[in-house]
Amino acid sequence: MLIDVSEDDDKVFKALADPTRRFLLDLLFAREGRTLTELESELEMTRFGVMKHLKVLREAGLITCRRSGREKLHFLNPVPIRLIHDRWISKYAQRQVSALTDLKRRLEAAPRPEQETDND
């Protein structure tokens, strides 16, 4: 399934706005390549419920599935979260960082007469 690029962020934010789905991502972060049965065993929820959450995560691009023999394995795909980070988070965190780097630059550019010792 191909996701419309403009709707990518919406799907990721919606997928992340649920504690069960965040828990599923954390499980896959800790160890990738898990089956539905393994994921289900960590949750107090029906198999059908877990499948529904996995579907939302898959449509947001946050997990990918691979077949291995008879089993379907789930992998975390961190790229959409990285894109959200680059687009929405680093932008606002950037201000503080650049304020600090500006300060550093100004302090370093300031004359420091006590260090200008005469060495000859």
């Binding site: 690029v5 990738e32 990918t64 795909n77 961190p78 790229v79």
Partner: protein, 161 residues
């Protein structure tokens, strides 16, 4: 059988042609412009050599001139590239030996392509931590590289630029 617990899969949708994505992965003029800004050099034939050379910034951080090497296993432009991948900057990471990276590019509708990168990491925990972006002050691994690649191809600018 592949030990799947040491496979990492990364996927990103990019509004660009498969040819443009292929070029961005395999041509040094492109690889210098995103991610770790290394210069990739491919001999795109089975058995051909792959080497990634550190740019000035990485070398200033103490990286060797050649940061990654490997061998091309399969090259089917612009859709599929399979290669080995070995980091070279320390004895321990070099000793983990070659791992396998597969790039798959598939065309969708509206000029959007899906790029899937699968990294098989058998007995390579340090390499795995690096590409997962788990090592502090060592960049964000594949997630960072691929989001930067997307940014470059879609906007003409990499994140750091």
């Amino acid at each position: 059988m592949t030990d799947t617990s040491v496979t990492q899969v990364y996927q990103v949708y990019i509004k660009a042609s498969a040819e443009a994505i292929w070029a961005a992965i395999t041509e040094p003029e492109w690889t210098q412009r995103y991610g770790y800004a290394a210069e990739s050099d491919y001999d795109l034939r089975p058995g051909g050599r792959f080497v990634s050379r550190a740019g000035e910034d990485l070398q200033a951080m103490g990286m060797p001139a050649e940061v990654v090497d490997g061998e091309v296993i399969e090259a089917d432009p612009p859709h599929r590239l399979v290669q080995t991948w070995r980091f070279l900057w320390s004895d321990s990471i070099r000793a983990e030996g070659p791992t396998t990276v597969t790039y798959e590019i598939s065309e969708g509708t509206n000029g959007v392509c899906k790029l899937t990168l699968t990294h098989q990491l058998v007995n390579a925990p340090e390499t795995a931590a690096q590409v997962a972006g788990e090592i502090e002050n060592a960049g964000g691994g594949w997630a960072y590289v691929l989001s930067d690649l997307k940014s470059l191809l879609e906007t003409g600018k990499a994140l750091g630029a």
